[in-house]
Symmetry: C2
Subunit: 737 residues, 2 copies
Amino acid sequence: MNTPILLSKLKSLTLIIFTLVLSCSVQASHPNLVITQADVLDMRKAINEQGRFATAYKNLKAKVDLQMALPIEVPVPKDGGGGYTHERHKKNYQLMYDAGILFQLSQDKTYADYVRNMLLAYAQLYPTLELHPARKVKSQNSGKLFWQSLNEAVWLVHTIQAYDFVYGALSAQDIKRIETNLLKPVALFLSEGQPSTFNKVHNHGTWATAGVGMAGYVMNEPEWVEKALYDLEKSGKGGFLKQLDELFSPQGYYNEGPYYQRYALLPFVTFAKAIDNNDPQRKIFQYRDGIVLKAIDTTIQLSYSGLFFPINDAIKSKGIDTIELVHGVALAYSLTKEPGYLDIAKQQNQIILSGNGLKVAQALDQGLAAPYPFISVAFGDGSDGKQGALVIMRSQLAGDQAVLFKPAAQGLGHGHFDKLTWQFYDQTKEIVSDYGAARFLNVEAKFGGRYLPENESYAKQTVAHNTVVVDETSHFDGDVEVGNANAPVLSYFETSSRGTVSSAKIDTAYQGVELKRTMALVNLTELEKTIVLDVFDVVASGEHQLDLPLHYQGQLIDMNFALSVSTDQLSALGAKNGYQHLWLKGRGLPEQGLAKVSWLNENGRFYTHTSLVNGQEEFLFTQLGANDPHFNLRNEQAFVRRVNNKKQHQFISVLEPHGEYNPGKEYTLDAASQVTQLSYSQQGEVMLINITIAGVSYLIAINQVPDGSIKQNFQYQDQSFSINSRLAVFALNDDEE
Amino acid sequence: MNTPILLSKLKSLTLIIFTLVLSCSVQASHPNLVITQADVLDMRKAINEQGRFATAYKNLKAKVDLQMALPIEVPVPKDGGGGYTHERHKKNYQLMYDAGILFQLSQDKTYADYVRNMLLAYAQLYPTLELHPARKVKSQNSGKLFWQSLNEAVWLVHTIQAYDFVYGALSAQDIKRIETNLLKPVALFLSEGQPSTFNKVHNHGTWATAGVGMAGYVMNEPEWVEKALYDLEKSGKGGFLKQLDELFSPQGYYNEGPYYQRYALLPFVTFAKAIDNNDPQRKIFQYRDGIVLKAIDTTIQLSYSGLFFPINDAIKSKGIDTIELVHGVALAYSLTKEPGYLDIAKQQNQIILSGNGLKVAQALDQGLAAPYPFISVAFGDGSDGKQGALVIMRSQLAGDQAVLFKPAAQGLGHGHFDKLTWQFYDQTKEIVSDYGAARFLNVEAKFGGRYLPENESYAKQTVAHNTVVVDETSHFDGDVEVGNANAPVLSYFETSSRGTVSSAKIDTAYQGVELKRTMALVNLTELEKTIVLDVFDVVASGEHQLDLPLHYQGQLIDMNFALSVSTDQLSALGAKNGYQHLWLKGRGLPEQGLAKVSWLNENGRFYTHTSLVNGQEEFLFTQLGANDPHFNLRNEQAFVRRVNNKKQHQFISVLEPHGEYNPGKEYTLDAASQVTQLSYSQQGEVMLINITIAGVSYLIAINQVPDGSIKQNFQYQDQSFSINSRLAVFALNDDEE
């Protein structure tokens, strides 16, 4: 016997031992993936009682009954995303899933038969299929039913659950046919058939491991479960656990941002629950200090007024009612019984028919919801949590306000070149905004519904964001690889009743240029007002043009400096890197002192941005829409602060929400900015901003001392002050008696 | 005795007789204007019970208590509108009114004392006043407390009611001082002191007559009541009754449009109620077939989704919750007990502390509200109802939809040059829109909060509307006088389950040019769809350039013809009459056939405008904002259909709402227009539109026969049809078996 054969025998033996060891944990009963037999018993009871769960059941039943009245269609795959066969196969897996759960709940065999018939149709089709005709050439990720294997994995995640639901109603012959001709081949195709995807520590890999792992549980292939958890070689270098290790930061932040985080969430939530039901000894929900729950919770925190913060490639109407998070919240509530999750579930207004869904429905019926605690937080980025951070600052002092500050990592291919950018939200609206992705999802006339060319040429570019652009060139010169390799550094984050402050820097966005930004959302308690402080330091080895755009939502009301306006001709602001899309509407060079720009938003609140300028910052007013031959861009407004030939510059500004415009009720309050004075100084490591607003003079101190001893003493206007935190706010008494 | 003296004596005698005759009707008890003693007793009871009325009482009390804790300020008049003394005097009359009613309800003398003290302060100030320093030079309408006497009349309307409330708590000495030094002088100043305003049949006159008439009731000056009703000479050529005769059409439509109608409403509603309480024998609510009630009801009909149709100078956020209409609806409910008014009151969400307000509050508490019946209707314009009409078409077939079609009269100085324009509304949103007024009410930075220069240069101009512009010149060449003298002619209006149709024409907007427009909101019941048909005929004696703009709300999605787009330079479309404000973004000349333009609105619905073109209609795509040095204009979108050198042209189009864009839930339905065929023909007096939409072929017939015999027979595609109404819709059966 030569060595290779021995090795091979040994491997087989190991495999057999593994199988024996693990078979105890493989399910003997159905269903037992996300939904267990015990769940089913509870749910059957609930559908006969009054309440949200029964309503959800009736609604789903009515919807599925309509679909089941139509003939089953399992077309030969032909179309890419959005096309008929693509959409039909997507509908089919959802229908099988829904009919399957309806069978479990109603015990009406019609539903099981429908799933059976569709599965048999697939079992007949699948063995005849080659790779999908609309696949991308040379791609490792082609599917058979779909143009990409990602969709095929999603298909399997749903279909294996549907199969599990109806298993008990199937004949041995049907089971054999379905498993042999369809489900096992699909699972093998998605694992052995595409190792690079299956082993990849990436969201696509998660769908594949979830599908294959769940198939392993249902079809008694424990080896598949092992491979799903540890990769094809069971090395632990890939697989589901590695994905849990790497794709989220320790706090549960997903590198690509919330729009993709919620998408990535579903296979994690689904497979984790199946693992917990089948292999409770794996303690999957305790894994990495409860990373699954953290990932769900973080997704919620990454929203404002129901919508996700639209960083990176994000469609702005996506929010917490997304179906992936409905599943996530149901799981989170079931694991924790935290009443805040019920608040979110209420807003989602959708009950899923599962054991977790039932718990949510019953708790909501009992009125147990309590406000979800949105917090100010810095989410460390990257698997170690140290690749920069995404910072959220919130205040309830003057309405529901939030600052999103983004010293986060690049976020892979969907990331934008927007290091240290920020956004501001107030009274449910975007005030200082981010364009999000340039895309009309699934609208054929708009570039087939895919990301528009303007997503690359504008939305990803630095000038489309609220951060410094050097020499009209985007961060990392627009190179994703370089971006992925270089994250900003979060210097500090602190939150208290005075407000929230954070500072971060990056010296790799441009060669020889350090960008450092300090932002604070400050509560001026006496005035029941909040302001945003922004100090942006640029230090370079050579001279550069520095632009700091601010994209705002609303109607420009006023500025306190003269403007030269292009009234009968408009030209683009620049030629490339997004500048070619901005019409230059006017420009002005304010004198040394305070430069104010005010606008009015759709809620009828005024916002004034006050910059402390040295007489060298030019203000360029722009409107988006140049070089847009297909009217793909929204015509949004911005102003760009620009200095030229600078080795060093400090952009200092305050954003102040004020007043109310109520033409319906015919009153206008405080339409003018109340900031009358602003000055900046530095004492040792303490940054001092003196601001007079509505007649009150405040000294805002930000302690920049590196980690370690934090208490600082300083003098200001002959008074002594002491700060033993990052942020302090002192009301100065000008008129001492 | 010479004749003049005799005449004078006779006049005096007549006056005495009048006084004697009428004194019986003058009130002996207080209060007895809008609110009577009987009302007060009911209200006192209600504030001690649970319900909306008690809540409103408590809220007002809390608000007024806060104000009363501050010192009384009655400053020497100095500022114009928006300035401190102006706003203070406005606040004061509201405060006196509110404190007065609180005194009546609570019987707490603190409130009466507050009113008394403020009245005495005014009684001290008023005799010292000359005409207001900020008055317009040479104006007939200067005030003393305010820069214009209109505000002074509004002050009197409120203050005389406040005085009436606290009368019973005043000493004889206070009464004398207040009446002699303040109230009588103000009433005399507003009547004898400014005869041209007092006698004018105009909204300003109504405030003056209401104030003076109510002062007459309270201070036992029946002669003042007579003058208020019949003018200073009691000729009946002016005064309140003449205002009721002339300012509204027989259906209760106010010539200037709803924005001013609701403003005009308050003195009518207030004084009429006071007349009814003091002189019930005048049957004021039956006057002119119940014109007061009709005026209130019409104001409600002139709204969509809570907001008034923004024709003429209108601020678009003004809606049915305006305080004037809160009073109006309370009166309307009190007069009719129609539960539909409660529906409106519910949306207004504001209970007034009056007898009528109490009736509304109690009915709402009892859950008596029922949906207010919004209808399709043509409101005849002008005092005879024959100066054109304002047409509203509504449909509930596919969501709440409305067409506003405007063959109305000019509407005086606030009127726009927009004969035969239209607007379209769907799912609570504007789809085909009107700019409304260019104004930021009370925003000092925006031209002092007054109408902006762009209101004249753009918003009033024809090109700012959705109607034909000849040779880039506005209707009536922008001359208000000419406009007021020439109204369109409403040819017909009809509404039925098939839809609503109307046609109108005008040959005075341009010399030698007849404009005729036929519009229909058509229900395609089989498809559960609605479309808007638009046929605009222009016939001229010479050759002209004809432009037909369409201002739409949303993001341009697609057109089915090639466009030449200005990608890196923009220029204004024209030089004057509003054209100077439009950037020309692109132009295209579609071939003969169907020219389609699609857009997507904020609700996620698609709209496709399909024109039947002859190869000569150029499409110009524009964006508002050129020649706007102060960023005063909203940057809205339009496309203009243009033909050149034409003596005759017919613009034919269909607007089709379709599909749904839901990126949050990740689906897009029917993003493409479903209109595949459109043809137009005429058979005798019948206009025939054949349209194929979503695979169904419809023949839409519009019977244009002049009044008289209406039934028409015609042939179409070898089939016989008959129409015995204005509008008929036939589903054609192409595939007969």
